[in-house]
Assembly symmetry: C2
Homo-oligomer: 358 residues x 2
Amino acid sequence: MSIVNSDKWGTAFVLSNGVLHKKDSKTSHGLIRGSNRFNIRAVIDSHSAGKDAGEVVDGINRGIPVYDNLDDAIEKRGKPDYCIIGVATKGGILPDELLEVIKNFLVRGISVVNGLHYYLSDQPELVELANTHGAGLIDVRRPKAFRDLHFWSEDIYQVHCPIIAVLGMDCAMGKRTATLLLQEALEKAGLRTEVIYTGQTGWMQGIKYGFILDSTLNDFVSGELSHAIITAYKAEKPDLILLEGQSSLRNPSGPCGAEYLVSGNAKKVILIHQPSREHFDYKTTWGRIPSVKNEMELINLYGSEVIGLMLNTEGLTDTESQTYKETYTRSLKIPVVLTMEDGLENFVQSLLNKINEN
Amino acid sequence: MSIVNSDKWGTAFVLSNGVLHKKDSKTSHGLIRGSNRFNIRAVIDSHSAGKDAGEVVDGINRGIPVYDNLDDAIEKRGKPDYCIIGVATKGGILPDELLEVIKNFLVRGISVVNGLHYYLSDQPELVELANTHGAGLIDVRRPKAFRDLHFWSEDIYQVHCPIIAVLGMDCAMGKRTATLLLQEALEKAGLRTEVIYTGQTGWMQGIKYGFILDSTLNDFVSGELSHAIITAYKAEKPDLILLEGQSSLRNPSGPCGAEYLVSGNAKKVILIHQPSREHFDYKTTWGRIPSVKNEMELINLYGSEVIGLMLNTEGLTDTESQTYKETYTRSLKIPVVLTMEDGLENFVQSLLNKINEN
């Protein structure tokens, strides 16, 4: 996966704390799939030690070995500039065991990159340790100060290239990965494509323009989004802008999406769906995920149009996947693709035809 | 206006800085209409000095005199415990002139209540002044610390009384005032009614349960909302809960509303509309406000139902207001009321009939 327009920082290890093989290690998976901000040299994960991290994630060897512990990793790969916490923790707090691991990095002068809502630089003990050993504490999700935040601006209407939001039918269906694969395919088709990141992993992967939506004060979400789009448009003059979606329009734990459509002026939407998932966050008590058709109607009411559907085939056989693809293509009359199985080349051509129709 | 379940703090002056007679003085207007947190003793406003504040706001004398300056106000009404900044400033920052006024309060030992995104307690000079003179600095909009925030909980589905969201077709159409008037009318009809505030003025008015939506990190908006509802339900066992809306579902400067419907589980909605307003925030470039019918369809797609429409008649003649009321009643087939002109008694009865139908 290639990421266009990145800020480069240095070498890094990813700490995935024994859960690299599980789904909740989204940040680790993103970094292993590709980061231009950090040169990922190793993963530390006791459960998958000895394997290649890429093979653990999706079966593709990426030359990123997994080690049981930091000492093993340093011995084989040298001391990195950074260590990135690649796991989400329950309730966003830091378990004691992870705290000890972090201290272990700091005493070796390795800076720690943290994407949790729990801020390391608020902990006097860690700050002192970092200062003593010349390491940094980077809390990616720490909210910006008021002076650095933007209110929404109608200058968004001066962005004269298509703005496409990549939205999901639920959380964790692969929106970010799909967005970056789309960018790659669009670039291959000759279109200069900017991605606006909206989560901490996007920033860690080195995407240049964006903001972290969930740690932004609500009053400034629309402003930060429009500011990122306007800035990217003016600086890069892209042919097309993709917005990384967050959550989903109707997930009860935190709906999101209206901001992209009305404040980000995304008149086109690509939807991500996982047909095997019936309930929000897999929980029957959270309610059924609506149909794709119903989601398209909702998006229409916001003044935007769904131009393509990307399917995550988790939990489906090949035959089932093909059946879903054919059924959706026929009933929704939009391009449909199996994100990981099909190449995106034809899909991207269909999207471009659809965009040029209007 | 009576506010049920309030936290009482003390006496206060409201500083409206020469704009009490204008619409942008929403916080001042709310406090003058009614506050149980503060006993409002006077308003400081050079433009309206000599008048009664209630008469300036809506023609109703409330025994709250307006003075030109702090010294006059103290001479006539005694020194208050608090002074509340009752104006919004451009971009949320504090003009130098207002800073001098605030210092003038602090040296007299009067605590300052501030609802701007600009935090007084971040200014060393003000903190020192406050400490020296035994005054407090209360930054209402300062975001809560992570440890005090809540993630969304499905316990919201254990709230077994109707939850009704009061949503607007645009910002500043009188949602908060309508919500409090509804509460008053519902209480009169014998229903114990809790309001969940979602803005700084609601807190200043003394509403007991709620949070300040626009200064909450996006990840916690759904959680803080559901937590406030669940807490109010458990503690007060009300017959009905009203949620104060913010912004509107499709205002491009910051859409809001989906959270109320899916995370707050508000299956019923009362819409506030001002028929004379054609464009969002009165700006043609921001786009047309959709029709009420279209808004009802959008709300339906979120799984909720509009059960009543309250009209703000600003800019309309009496005849026009009546015509709108009749037209909406006929075409939408829901109860419609002129919020400030009609009494809410009949409207509330119609709402209750509609709720009991289901």
